[in-house]
């Protein structure tokens, strides 16, 4: 397996175009720009517009092990292209076993929700909020449904605190469709975070269709949903809050369709470059005597989950260790 690359960028493409191979380099030619993509500088590609790949481009990307994710222009996740041919039968079986065994699944579901609570509390305290109500929730229960109830409770507290932090009176989370600008930002960033989590799952060799907190279903992969939730406070809400604070947003960054509010291309660009700044932030991790990027924390979480599934260690929920 390739060494972790903490310093690399995700590439976000927000214009229609084509990725192709040209004199052995990957070239993006879109409506607005034509540019060579330095493959050593990126670790994944998110196509948020209609982007086609030629077979030459697919060759190059699979050789380098770079996953490509496709979204609709509104930001709904469509699917990935990932070159993943290595056999992982053993890991997938133990993943299924941990899902089917109620006790084992309950343990993981609980840890995941605790991870969500940890990041929420961390992000809020950074904003100068003392999340008393959030911390008073004890993540415990007899069944996964009960644990999911706790998760819902945590989110409702979190949204209230978030509303206070961004100084919006009675902030309300709306989705499908998002009904205001803040919700449009959150929804879009959430979708991209799901794509990031998909990458992390597959990079760790896990089967994305089997999650532990979220039940297996036929529409969405549930493991990325699990992983994304742990990091949403850190990735999505820190980014959105920072964007609102700097106030670089204009009304032209959004488009309204009836009740729904979506991001325009410029809005997407702003959000994605702010998200990149968040993902590339690094903090010192003492056990390794080096820095770890925000992006890599999710990869590491997936790897720790894998270790747990293979019985090589006990999974403990993610907890921000810095201030």
């Amino acid at each position: 397996m390739k060494r972790a690359s903490a310093m690399k960028y995700p590439l976000f493409i927000t214009q229609h175009g084509e990725l192709r191979r040209e004199s052995n380099a990957l070239i993006f030619s879109g409506e607005l720009v034509k540019r060579p993509i330095p493959l050593a500088q990126i670790n994944e590609i998110h196509c948020l517009a209609r982007v086609s790949l030629t077979s030459g481009a697919i060759d190059l990307l699979s050789e380098k092990g770079i996953p490509v994710h496709f979204y609709t222009t509104r930001g709904d996740y469509k699917g990935p292209f990932i070159n993943d041919a290595s056999p992982r039968g053993k890991l997938h079986l133990s993943q299924a076993e941990h899902y089917l065994n109620p006790e084992k699944r309950l343990y993981l579901a609980k840890e995941i929700v605790e991870g969500i609570q940890n990041t929420m509390a961390f992000v809020l305290s950074r904003w100068g909020v003392n999340p008393v109500k959030l911390n008073s929730v004890t993540v415990d229960g007899e069944s996964v449904e009960e644990i999911m109830g706790k998760e819902a409770e945590l989110w409702s507290h979190f949204y209230r605190y978030f509303g206070e932090a961004i100084e919006v009176d009675d902030f309300r989370r709306t989705r499908r469709p998002p009904e205001d600008e803040v919700n449009a930002l959150i929804s879009y960033a959430n979708a991209v975070t799901y794509g990031l989590a998909f990458s992390s799952s597959v990079k760790a060799g896990l089967d994305p269709s089997i999650g532990f907190l979220h039940a297996v279903n036929d529409r969405r992969h549930s493991l990325p949903l699990d992983l994304a939730d742990i990091f949403k406070p850190l990735y999505v809400f820190s980014t959105v809050k920072a964007m609102l604070k700097t106030n670089g947003l204009k009304s032209s960054d959004f488009s309204k369709k009836g009740k729904a509010v979506y991001l325009s291309r410029e809005g997407k660009r702003k959000l994605l470059s702010a998200l990149t700044d968040t993902l590339r932030r690094t903090v010192y991790y003492k056990p390794w005597k080096r820095s770890m990027s925000y992006r890599f924390m999710m990869d590491y979480e997936a790897r720790r989950l894998k270790r747990h599934l293979l019985g090589r260690g006990k999974y403990k929920a993610f907890r921000p260790w810095w201030r």
């Binding site: 310093m7 995700p10 590439l11 330095p38």
Partner: protein, 88 residues
């Protein structure tokens, strides 16, 4: 993983070739300058590819190796150099 600033001075005949190899790995900064993070493997690969192009008696490619990009302070006069864009 270290940060490299690569500058080259090669015979006109080979400038395009060298540029093409480098742009597949690093961010293009300006005419004969590239920058970016490379792992040891990637560096070795890049050096091997460059080696097969350049003529050792006339051409030279210099690699400045840094622990990361945060320690680089730069400023410019004249037209601003290209910045790496990861949002297209």
């Amino acid at each position: 993983m270290r940060y490299y600033i690569v500058v080259y001075d090669v015979n006109e005949k080979r400038v395009v070739k060298v540029h093409r190899v480098l742009r597949a790995y690093l961010q293009w900064r300006q005419r004969s300058v590239f920058e970016g993070y490379l792992s040891d493997d990637e560096l070795a690969e890049l050096i091997r590819k460059l080696d097969s192009i350049i003529n050792e008696s006339e051409d030279s490619v210099v690699f400045y190796s840094l622990p990361n990009d945060k320690i680089v302070r730069s400023f410019h006069i004249g037209a601003p150099p290209d910045r790496f864009e990861n949002v297209l």
